[in-house]
Symmetry: C2
Subunit: 149 residues, 2 copies
């Protein structure tokens, strides 16, 4: 049983942050979305201490966000994949408020159409409302070849 | 100048979490959305140590998420208010994965229409795509009278 960090809170944001709000945790989830699955690859991508990484991965497995497979891989569960909309909104906020001169590291496109989609989930090309499953994440102009995400 | 916690990361999520990813920080932002503005009221709502709260509030002011007014109030800036979509998605994920038997603590409704809106931003009553500014946050069946959020 995990400690309840925010015991007095009747709030789904508080409960969510118990699961995925610790430092590094959402970056592990982000890496998992980008295809990272091995302990050593998370370690290389994030550059954090092995004991901290092991603790965070164990917590995400306990919360049902990651599955630890028999072959050692850590893979997002359905519950974990359902964090995509929250990560998308956090990314768009960062893109907007901490812009890089060369442009954002990653873009979200309307799958099939190719138009850019920002936080309001409207395609800049066709003007349609875009559902989360219709989003495609692609490298943007601000991505460097050495960066993971 | 703040330390860069995730120095190797070319990623808008990493940069965002530098600003708002520390423990308690997003709950302070949530309280600010709910109208909390006084140090003592944040302290009462969150139940955290005063020195931790002071550090987190100062960080949010430094990042331009909160403004510290001459009368002592901490108020969301425009940049801070633009975290609403990310908080909304974190709330919906928590509602879905950590349901309370009596229902969610808060609901988001299509303003004017009154239909419920979930993470996909479609009104359950009229079927329209709902923009973030058309969302109305109201107490839900799972909210207790003593809980802040």
């Amino acid at each position: 049983m995990l400690d309840r960090t925010y015991p007095a809170q009747v709030c789904s944001i508080a409960r969510t942050l118990e699961a995925v709000g610790e430092r590094w945790t959402l970056l592990i989830v982000r890496d998992a979305f980008l295809g990272v699955s091995r302990f050593s690859d998370f370690q290389r991508s994030l550059g954090i201490a092995r004991n901290v990484l092991a603790q965070r991965l164990g917590h995400l497995v306990d919360e049902g966000v990651l599955e630890h497979r028999d072959d050692g891989a850590y893979v997002l569960t359905r519950k974990g994949r359902e964090l995509a909309p929250a990560l998308h909104q956090l990314m768009k906020w960062g893109d907007h408020h901490y812009p890089r001169p060369e442009g954002p590291p990653r873009l979200t496109l309307h799958r099939g159409c190719g138009g850019r989609v920002e936080g309001e989930m409207v395609c800049a090309r066709c003007g349609e409302h875009v559902a989360q499953r219709e989003l495609e994440l692609v490298p943007g102009p601000g991505r460097t070849s050495t960066a993971a995400g």
